[in-house]
């Protein structure tokens, strides 16, 4: 039996022949959000357990990237809006059922918090830094005294932000590829791993790198586990889920996903990291770069492929 569908006279931009309403802005934002969540989580974690001295890059230097990444990510989100002058409407209401509302509010709190964290360490970064306004000086003293509670808040918000980047997609029942609850933890773990990769790249202390590399290896393991489970879930699912999985299992995204994201972005860096832990000389930037690139491409293809998948009727 042959079945064909024609839709007469409908050729709406970005809707037909298949949905393409979200372009590069969304994956870039998801990536920067995940990266920021990763850096902030570990900065918070090592502050809470009192390892600021040993883990200097994690706690002090890498978090300087976060406000920059978040502002760039927010700018990308803003570019994506089609009715930009009304963006402030996000902040006139709290919509419990809408993941995007949750995300907007989380960013409202976490972006200033990341700036406060960076400001607290700016005197270590730029010796001789002086606040022009006296109030800032007093504010800094209060912040420096309360780093632990702030670290707790930052860890919590970082997890919400990391999970949110996945939930944003998984909440859409109409796009079968996205509509998998495993996307929340998967994007969180991927975000944490890219955050670690950035810190490892920046760190000059061998001891710090060793600790972080071990954590990163565990995260890569978890990520592979979650990816396999995601596909098991799809293949055991309904027709639309199987069709979604087939985009990655023989379909147009097969090479990019398995070749670039899984092998180049997860397995090869993991092998390189194992060699590094065993004492081989591997340039530190290579596994970090591969993980960062793999994470970015992962988000790009998830956003693009998801929009192709739909209900059949």
């Amino acid at each position: 039996m042959k079945e064909e569908l024609f839709i007469s006279g409908r050729n709406i931009p970005n809707i037909d022949p298949f949905l393409n309403i979200w372009h590069w802005e969304i994956p870039v934002y998801l990536y920067l959000g995940g990266l920021s969540a990763g850096i902030m989580f570990f900065a918070g974690l090592f502050t809470v357990i009192g390892k600021e001295k040993e883990m200097e890059t994690t706690v002090k230097w890498a978090p300087f990237l976060v406000p920059i990444a978040l502002v760039l990510g927010l700018f990308a989100l803003f570019l994506d809006l089609k009715h930009q002058l009304y963006f402030w409407r996000l902040y006139t209401t709290v919509r419990m059922e809408s993941p995007m509302s949750w995300g907007a509010w989380t960013l409202m709190f976490i972006t200033p918090l990341s700036m406060v964290w960076a400001a607290a360490y700016i005197k270590d970064l730029i010796p001789g830094w002086k606040w022009r306004i006296n109030l800032f000086e007093q504010f800094e003293v209060i912040i420096r005294r309360n780093m632990k509670p702030i670290a707790w808040a930052m860890m919590g918000l970082a997890i919400v932000l990391g999970v949110y980047t996945g939930i944003l997609l998984s909440a859409f029942n109409a796009r079968p590829l996205w509509n998998a609850s495993i996307l929340g933890p998967l994007f969180l773990v991927s975000g944490l791993s890219t955050g670690l990769a950035a810190i490892i790249w920046m760190s000059k202390s061998h001891k710090e790198r060793t600790i972080l590399t071990k954590i990163d290896l565990a995260l890569i393991g978890v990520e592979l586990f979650l990816i396999i489970h995601m596909f098991m879930g799809f293949l055991a699912g309904s027709a639309v889920k199987i069709e979604a999985a087939e985009l990655f299992l023989g379909g147009p995204f097969t090479t990019t996903f398995w070749g670039v994201v899984v092998i180049m972005g997860l397995i090869i860096p993991a092998i390189l990291e194992i060699f590094e832990l065993r004492g081989s000389k591997v340039p530190v930037w290579i596994p970090s770069f591969l993980i960062l690139l793999g994470g970015l491409i992962f988000r790009f293809i998830m956003v693009e492929a998801g929009q192709i998948t739909r209900f059949l009727y």
């Binding site: 064909e4 024609f6 839709i7 409908r10 309403i21 089609k82 409407r89 809408s98 995007m100 109409a174």
Partner: protein
């Protein structure tokens, strides 16, 4: 009060009058449409059958677009009609992603637009533009809660289906088969 529409797929000839009427009535920008015709061809010649469907927003009872809207611009009004308040919409596209029927589009002015069941006409006691012009009277519109409304009577006497019931959206468009 619960508005719904029944579309007689056996009577529809796919002329597209409903599409043009809607575009005219609602000032839909050129190149866009709030309703459209789907030709579902089954089999191959000589054993072939065609189902013609005039489709539009399903005004779902469990509407994913209203759920995912971050500002509350998408909302449900009296009669179960899903509406968009233009000056609350930020154009994020979440509702477009959430619709299993691809019934929403991004208006060139930025906000999201879609079928309103001609709410401005219903308020005046008129029916929707698409129903008024249909030359084969294959569109039946009315209150589903009223057993004697046009739509209720059409559903009572015929077999019907809804689109993608597995999406769980409880659509209010019924296709008479």
């Amino acid at each position: 009060m619960r508005y719904g529409m029944a579309i007689d797929t056996a009577k529809c000839v796919g002329c597209g009058d409903c599409v043009v009427a809607c575009q005219t009535e609602n000032n839909v920008p050129i190149g866009y449409c709030r309703d459209w015709i789907v030709e579902n061809v089954n089999g191959s010649y000589p054993n072939v059958e065609i189902e013609l469907r005039s489709e539009r927003c399903n005004h779902c009872e469990n509407s994913p677009c209203v759920r995912c809207c971050p500002t509350g611009a998408s909302h449900i009004v009296d009669g179960g009609i899903v509406m968009v308040t233009h000056n609350e919409c930020i154009g994020c596209g979440a509702c477009i992603q959430s619709c299993p029927y691809d019934a929403r589009y991004s208006h060139p002015d930025g906000y999201v637009d879609k079928c309103t069941f001609c709410q401005h006409r219903l308020e005046k006691g008129q029916s929707t533009a698409c129903v008024e012009v249909c030359p084969t009277t294959c569109l039946h519109f009315g209150d589903l809660d009223d057993p004697y409304s046009d739509v209720s009577l059409a559903l009572k006497n015929r077999t019907w289906k809804v689109l993608a019931p597995e999406a769980g959206t409880k659509p209010q468009l019924f296709f008479l088969t």
